[in-house]
Amino acid sequence: MDNHILEVSNLHVSFKTRNGEVPAVRGVNFSLKKGETLAIVGESGSGKSVTAKSIMQLLPKQNTIIPEGEIRYEGKDLLKFSKKEIQSIRGSDISMVFQDPMTSLNPTMKIGKQIMEGLSRHMNLTKKQARERAKEMLELVGIPNAEARLDAYPHQFSGGMRQRVVIAIALACNPKVLIADEPTTALDVTIQAQILRLMRGLQEKMDTAIILITHDLGVVANMADRVAVMYAGEVVEQGTLDEIFYRPQHPYTLGLLRSMPNLDAPRTEPLIPIPGSPPDPATLGTGCPFAARCPYTMKVCHDHNPDYTAVSGTQAVRCWLQDERTPDEHVPEVIRKGRQTSEIAADQAAIDAAGGVPV
């Protein structure tokens, strides 16, 4: 457990609205190791950005409530930090790359100054040293002619270049955790490939842990070590990259993977969409939030939200299909098949061999 640099446990976040409190994040758990990339995937409104922003404490104080939960960074609970303490962490230990490079830079400030801002605040550098470091950072993220570019304004850069600058700012103080919220969504594919390669390269060099928030499963497959799938404010499934893509256990994960066209499949096969649309967080009942769209719903799904069940040492899922009381014939082939090939099968075999007693 000690090598976990960031641990989020049972995090709840609600917003005060005119119609009462609306839960956006409902009991999220995940952890992050040094140098690892965790992808958080989910649709808009699933609470992935809110989770990220609550780690950075960037949510508006006046209408955000965090009734429960812990966000432990190097063992200390960030939620208990004072404003000053959090400011010393934000931008130096944990930093963030936002989706839109057009709006996350200050248009009236020179690029160099924007990079130097964090440096002089967190690293006690003189102006000259900070400028030198800012230049290095621009070179590191692949901006040619860095010295001269320090005195340019954001509007003089293209979208891809701006996102490089944002990454340079985020990495300037050697953060241990980088939260990237849809870092390439606003960019074209060829530029996206450049930025993703850049992020991977920098991660190797600096051993940064990355939380990558995205809805693009391609980007996930390209970048992540582990994946957490969010739906309606909950992590419904979590596992290693291969587990999530090749042995998905939650019907929602399965649905997401199936609704993407496979480049190798013939075009005549229709896509299998997930019917309906995501639920309104204000009107969630007590049941599983995915029940209304799930093809394998049982009676229990509408009334009770399933617990988080581990299906392997690294994979866990929130679904009634995993419950041992669910009759085997009700569990769809794909999920059963996935389960058999997973480590569980091996575990189960060991148990069977020992005469039904867990070894």
Partner: protein, 347 residues
């Protein structure tokens, strides 16, 4: 003349072409000195009932092509043959009205493309009021209900306002509006880009079903190449205002010829970890040049890993190198490669 043009500019021209575009240009004058060449001479044809995918990065002019075909923009130059009509220069009122009816558009952003102060019924029937003025109120209402049903909504939705719907539902309303006047040709400009992954498949399936039922012809504009491959029969790849490659979608993915197409395809991250780990990515350096200042010769040469001297001097011709597969690149031109003293790239 018509026939000649078809022969000259399109790959599989024939009687069943609904749309033939020859050397279409759309330039925007920004100020006295600068002209933005958004679309700079493109030719293609679309058969009846076919879907042509148009892909490229932002700023390559793909949306401008769609908007020019729907006559939101007047083309600067070039000729369009649509369903027996020759569209060139200013159109007379009658032709314009027919185009406005036969060519419809589905927009990218379902939030800004529906008037928030109109009910769904008003939005859908607006075209009917203009193009079928003799239709009775009651018939019109009936038609709106049919259309709502067709796109997977129901008649109770007719009296509601756009803000009461989710993104996917709004896109369905946009589709119903486009279908209301029974168009022959639909330009879908990134119709799924603003939607969530789980909803995208719903809309793509709907578009495909409607095409089969009604024999619609689509121009499907997108930057998401995996969806484009799925929906399109043929795909045209645009770069800086020109089509650089055009082929059937299978062919384009299996055997991309133009270096830009190759890079574009290799840049799409695939939702398959095994493939992502093993495949070679071609990463292009730099950004797309500004369309106000297009490089000489081949416009891709500034980012092309294979650029030669001839690329700066001569603009490559867009020609068919294999039946149904056209490309604009010197690497496949015998003469130029001989001059460069290099080996011809085999197709």
């Amino acid at each position: 003349m018509t026939h000649e043009l078809k022969e000259q500019h399109t790959t599989n021209a024939g009687q069943d072409d609904l749309l033939v575009v020859s050397d279409l240009k759309k330039h925007f004058r920004l100020n006295r000195k600068t002209v933005l060449k958004a679309v700079d001479g493109i030719s293609f044809s679309i058969k009846k009932g076919e879907t042509l995918g148009l892909v490229g990065e932002s700023g390559c002019g793909k949306s401008t092509v769609g908007r020019t075909l729907t006559r939101i923009y007047e083309p600067t130059d070039g000729e369009i043959h649509f369903d027996g009509l020759k569209l060139k220069g200013r159109l007379d009122g009658k032709t314009k009205k027919r185009i406005n009816r036969d060519v419809q558009m589905i927009f990218q952003d379902p939030y800004s493309s529906l008037n928030p102060r109109m009910t769904v019924s008003e939005i859908i029937s607006e075209g009917l009021v203009i193009h079928n003025p003799n239709m009775s109120q009651k018939d019109r209402e009936k038609r709106v209900h049919e259309l709502l049903q067709l796109v997977g909504l129901n008649k109770n939705h007719a009296g509601r306002y756009p803000h009461e719907f989710s993104g996917g539902q709004r896109q369905r309303i946009g589709i119903a509006r486009a279908l209301a006047v029974e168009p022959k040709f639909i330009v879908a400009d990134e119709p799924i880009a603003a939607l969530d992954v789980s909803i995208q498949a719903q809309i793509v399936n709907l578009l495909k079903e409607l095409q089969e039922e009604r024999g619609l012809t689509y121009l499907f504009i997108a930057h998401d190449l995996s969806m484009v491959k799925y929906i399109s029969d043929r795909i045209a790849v645009m770069y800086l205002g020109k089509i650089v490659e055009l082929a059937t979608s299978e062919e384009l993915y299996e055997k991309p010829l133009h270096p830009y197409t190759q890079a574009l395809l290799s840049a799409i991250p695939l939702p398959d970890p095994e493939k992502e780990r093993t495949r070679e990515q071609i990463i292009l350096s730099g950004d797309v040049p500004s369309p106000t200042d297009i490089p000489s010769g081949c416009r891709f040469r500034t980012r092309c890993p294979f650029a030669m001297d001839s690329c700066a001097a001569i603009d490559p011709e867009f020609r068919e190198v294999e039946p149904g597969h056209s490309v604009a690149c010197h690497l496949y031109d015998e003469e130029i490669m001989a001059k460069e003293g290099k080996e011809l790239k085999t197709v």
